[in-house]
Each structure stands twice: as structure tokens, then as C-alpha cells.
Amino acid sequence: MKPAVILVGADKGGVGKTTVTRTLLDYFVAHNVPTRAFDTEAPRGTLKRFHPDMTEVVDVTTIPDQMKIFDTLADADAKVTVIDVRAGLLSSTLRALRDIGFLDIVKKGQVTFAVFHILGPSIASLDEIAETAAFVGDAKYFLVKNHINNTNFFEWDPATYDSYFHRIKGAVEISVPHLNEMACEQVELASVPFLTFVANKNGGGEAANYSFVLRGYVRHWLGNVWGEYDRVKLTEISAK
């Protein structure tokens, strides 16, 4: 099985990159796919707070940390590497991947590469698509509309969006539905993966006392998100 790298990013902050990354990690865990994650929000690491056992905080702009990620792809136990790219670094990270020859090995089929581009509601997000398009020719490119915070995308003119969307051959749209604010907030406070929250466990694996209603909402929402991942056949990325 060849390794797979999933880059989750956006050039704008606050669009829910880490939330989407968390759903991906939960998805792979639930499907028994050995996965590791890199959190590029050095030195803080929001992702690491939720998935400490599988996440390492790195500075993706430095060569030693780039080596830590990409030189270990073939040897790592984890077959899927998920990288949560800090806001504003998506284009520069893709540029760096091109420069180190990573995109060439993707082209040769030695590594599966997918980009989850999280879109914000502004026109600036459409410009990001155009900017990103230059680097993702051989990647699986997913445009993610994240509605978790009830973001509406109506300020986009559908024709304009389509013109950007079609610039990337094979681009696939994913929609992450809204999650009740209090449920979202309680998972944040609990600092555990969504799956752990649904199972009513704390970070140490012991029984917790989360609201049944909130767990129900999170379970329902996570099921819908995973439904989207099933629809785009995400597990095939790790199966090749």
C-alpha cells in the first residue's frame, strides 16, 4: 500500500481547518486506517490538543520539519499522513512541496496526495482556488464548504464559483454541515476527539459526563460528515 498525504488548509483563518482535520482523523481511526497527523501551528498546536497521541507539532516552513514529514512517508507505520496547514500557508506549503520534488513523486504515482481546501464565505476564498490550482494537478482536490459555524456561501455568484471550481480538473466539493453551537463548544472544552466525546469518555479514556443530547447532536453531525467522505470514497486514498 502506497503512502497517502492529505493536506488540509486555507489561506484564510477561522474557516475550520482544524475541525475538518479532526473529522478526518476520527474517520480514519474508525476505519482502522493507521494514520498520523502533523499540526503546523507551531508552537501552539490546536490539533494536538484533541489528538495528542497521533499528532506532532511542526513548523512546515523549516527544512528539518519538512524532512520529518516527507522523508518518513515510506517508513512510517501510518499509511495516511494528515497535515493541518496553518492559515495563510496553503499556497506556500504547496510551493515548498513542488520545490522539494514531492509533487513529482505524486505524479509518478509513488504517493497518493489529496488537498482539502477549506473555503470561507468571502470572494477571497475563490481567489485562493485560482492560486492553489497551479500546484494540484496530480492531487485529489477537495473543495470543502464548511458550514459548521452556519457560514452561508450565498455571497458568491454561482456562475463565478463554477468558473473557479472548474479550473481544477477533477475537483470534488464536500459540504460539512452545521453543528449546534453548544455541542461544538462542549467538545472544544472537553478537548477530546469527536468520537471520544460521542462515546462519553474523557481524554484518559475514563467515563465522562457529557450531555446525552449534545453527544447525540455530535454523533448525528459526524455521521453526516462521514457520509460526505464515503461519497467521495475517501478510504480509497489509503487503499491503493
Binding site: N180, E181, M182, A183, S211, F212, V213, L214, R215, G216, Y217, R219, H220
Partner: protein, 246 residues
């Protein structure tokens, strides 16, 4: 009875999309039924307009709301507790849709069953088309829930209504609330009238003859409730045997 069988604790949701069809009266009778047998019971009331369930039995009833997340948590987090206390929800028409929609979304029924709780919707089988549509929609959207039509003879004659309320499963045999002579309703509808409150002592403000008539009527209703409990128990036994065989 097989050794592994234990009956689930019922959660009764008394509901109708229409007002003034006997919903709160049914919830009161059910609450009185458990109180008179000294069985642990708690009720939840959505009605804002008196006389509501809470006006009749305030010591055993809490206010509930469903529109906001805090209300949903206060209600469902209590309903899901496996404390062997029978719970009764008097679900107002304005809250019906949201209640069942939340119930479905949070996966309440499966979880409740895992905790030994059996949600049972007692649906007032009124003769109007809206009630029939909502009943059919509930059957579709929550097929796993025990949905019991309640024929309140004061609002509908049984035979005609029955064909409009097809039964969902074996436990869903209908309940019949017999009609009372109209003059007796005035005693019933005045809070804090409660059969459980009298404990066999006739109240001073009701003529003895009327009181005895009310008691006879109540006993007929309680027989219906006992039969429902028995059917729920038999359903548990049947499911348990199926599980053991599988």
C-alpha cells in the same frame, strides 16, 4: 418467564397535533395510575396555558421546553437516565414536531432501549386529517418507536377512527378512553383534581354519586393501561427470546 427478561421502564409521550382532544387528560390519568400504585413516576409538561398537567399534579410534574438547546438538554438528559422511574411527557401540539425531530436526530430511541427504557408514544387518534397525517409521518420517521393510538370516545367513535390509524407493531394495540357523561367533566377539569390525591376518600366538593361514577370510569381506563403494560412486557419477552435464539 426466561431468567434474562427484565421489563423496560416506559417513557410515555402523550401527544397530538391538535388541542382539546384529551391529551392532558390522558397524561393525568396515566400519572394518577402510577401514583395510585405507589410506583416511581415523573411527568414533564410543555403546556403554557392552564389548566395544564402541572396545575393538577404539581409535585410530580416539571416544566419542559424544546425550542432551545438548554431546554432539550434539561429534558432529554433527564429522560435518558436509567433510574427505573416511569416518565410521562405531556407533549403540546406546538412542540410535537420539534420533540420528535430532536429525538430522531440524537438517536434517542436506540440509546434509551440500551439503557432499559422503552419510549412509547400515546397518540390521540382524533378524527381530523392533520392528526392522521402526523400519525403516519411518525410511523415513517420513527418506525422503531412503539406508537399507540388512543381512542378518546369523547372526541371520536372508535370504529371509524381505527382504520385511519394502522398499528405499527405488536405492542401498539390501541387504548380506549371511554366517554364520561358530560356533566362529570366539570369536576375533572378543575385543578387540582387528582384521583391519586383522594386515596379512596371522596372529596367534599363532589357529590358521592358523581365521585363513584368517576371512579368506575377511572378503573376502566386503568384496565387499559394495565393491558398496555402487559403488552409491552410481552413484547420484551418476545424480543428477548428472539435475541436468545439468534
Amino acid at each position: 418467564m426466561p431468567g434474562g427478561v427484565t421489563s423496560r421502564t416506559p417513557l410515555f409521550i402523550v401527544c397530538s397535533p391538535q388541542a382539546r382532544v384529551g391529551r392532558t387528560l390522558t397524561a393525568r390519568l396515566l400519572l394518577d395510575f402510577f401514583l395510585m400504585e405507589d410506583r416511581p413516576v415523573a411527568a414533564f409538561d410543555f403546556d403554557a396555558e392552564p389548566p395544564a398537567l402541572i396545575d393538577f399534579l404539581p409535585l410530580h410534574t416539571s416544566n419542559a421546553r424544546i425550542a432551545d438547546i438548554e431546554g432539550q438538554m434539561a429534558l432529554f438528559d433527564r429522560l435518558i437516565v436509567p433510574d427505573r422511574v416511569t416518565k410521562i411527557v405531556d407533549l403540546a401540539p406546538t412542540s410535537l414536531q420539534k420533540f420528535f425531530s430532536v429525538m430522531r436526530e440524537i438517536g434517542f430511541i436506540d440509546d434509551a432501549r440500551r439503557r432499559g427504557i422503552e419510549p412509547v408514544a400515546l397518540f390521540i387518534a382524533a378524527p381530523d386529517a392533520v392528526s392522521q397525517r402526523v400519525y403516519a409521518a411518525l410511523q415513517m420517521s420513527l418506525p422503531e418507536m412503539v406508537l399507540v393510538p388512543v381512542y378518546n370516545e369523547a372526541v371520536a367513535q372508535g370504529q371509524r377512527a381505527r382504520k385511519n390509524y394502522p398499528l405499527s407493531n405488536r405492542a401498539s394495540v390501541p387504548i380506549q378512553i371511554p366517554a364520561l357523561p358530560p356533566y362529570l367533566y366539570r369536576y375533572l377539569e378543575k385543578p387540582p383534581f387528582s384521583f391519586a390525591g383522594f386515596r379512596g376518600t371522596p372529596p367534599q366538593d363532589i357529590p358521592l354519586e358523581a365521585y363513584m361514577e368517576l371512579l368506575r370510569w377511572m378503573r376502566r381506563v386503568f384496565v387499559e393501561f394495565r393491558e398496555l403494560e402487559l403488552r409491552l412486557l410481552l413484547n420484551d419477552v418476545r424480543l428477548s427470546l428472539q435475541h436468545d435464539a439468534g
